[in-house]
Amino acid sequence: MKSSLWKWNTRTVVTIGIGGALYGATSWIGIPIAPDTQLRPAIALLAIFGALFGPIVGFIAGFIGHVINDLITSGTVWWGWALGSGITAAFMGLIYLAKDFNAQEGQMKKNHVAWFVVYGIVGIFVSLAFSGYFDILVMGEPNDKIAIQVISAGLANLAVFLILGLPAVLAYVKRNRNNSNLSVDR
């Protein structure tokens, strides 16, 4: 059963908490690709939590996780980028709203995969555009430098999403499909 989007039961609360902790605990792993910009495999978790639990849980878990990671690794919270993590997860979670999509029960059709990829790509670039604009407006960073950071981070996140996030979600769905397709042996 997919639970409703707005109803918060205990599981929702715990999922946000653990999702945030997981994202926060693994975000330190990264390969530097541009000035103060890293390829972070943890981006895949945003896709996974979005697809499994929906955009709201994804947004809050991504935001909390990013803030925690900033607090324990850099001593300053980069609010624009933290919101960006949330926005990415929210977009990727849009697939959760598709009518007959259900990761928990292994229901995912071909067009769901296509939509998931589209949501992911749009989400990654919308969120980075937001984070970049935030830095230019609020921090007063130069446009050209931000453009380099945003584009390289976008390509990195895209790669992580397609190489790590998407296969992980597909593997999870497939595993659950096997469980639900058991038939009685006569």
Partner: protein, 276 residues
Amino acid sequence: MSQASGLYVAGDSFFHRMDGAVKLILLLIWTVVTFLFMDLRVFAVMLAVGVSMLLLARVPFRKMALLFWALTIFTVVNSVFILLITPRFGTTLTESDTPLIPLGYDTVNTETLFYVLTLSFKYLTLLPITLLFIFTTHPSRFAASLHKLGVSYKLAYAVSIAFRYIPDLTKEFRTILNALQMRGLGISRGDGTLLQRARNLTQAVVPLLQSSLQHIESVSDAMDLRGFGTKPQRTWYMGKVMTEGDKLIALLCVILLAVGIWLKRSLFPGFWYPFG
């Protein structure tokens, strides 16, 4: 719940006793005020105030050194790249151009150098207050404060769980990585090419996800059994009553914000450049 402490350092300074909600207000208003300006004088004053507050809290420097250096390196790298990518950016702010360091393809001018200095100070200004917040606020007490500020207790509890499970999940993640390494699928330098190491890391995703989903199951069952979420309100074991002093500090924070906005509108509207 000893693991819940995270970075928190126990102590009995003025800031340790201060209400968590007030500290959060202080952090947020401080951040907003910093965001408003692009003026070295403002940042110098704020940084001095921030550092003295940090000294007052008597957090051992050894604990903070790592974060201090992390931000310093971040800022230095950021500055160098701004100078390399946009060596004349300062001119767009000051409308003057004083060549300083030739780069070959372009010249770094004094304006940009001063701009980079100002930007670095802006980032550094945010550091002491953030350190103050994370080192003197107990995570459980922080959840109680969030609730006091009007955040729904379910959301506050989610934040609390996130802090609580970071150490557990980090341990779990390391165990998985060690298990993979034993099977020859390490992710450190020397375990193969970058691509190979990245591929090995992907092997860790599914087990980590599985164990987290199991965590979710057991934790939410445990909370359901204890009746979490049955009532519209709840109290907090770690919650405290705000004192008069706390309310005074909260008032000072609001005044700080008002002064910040007034200064921004009247005295320091834009980028300050003394040599122009």
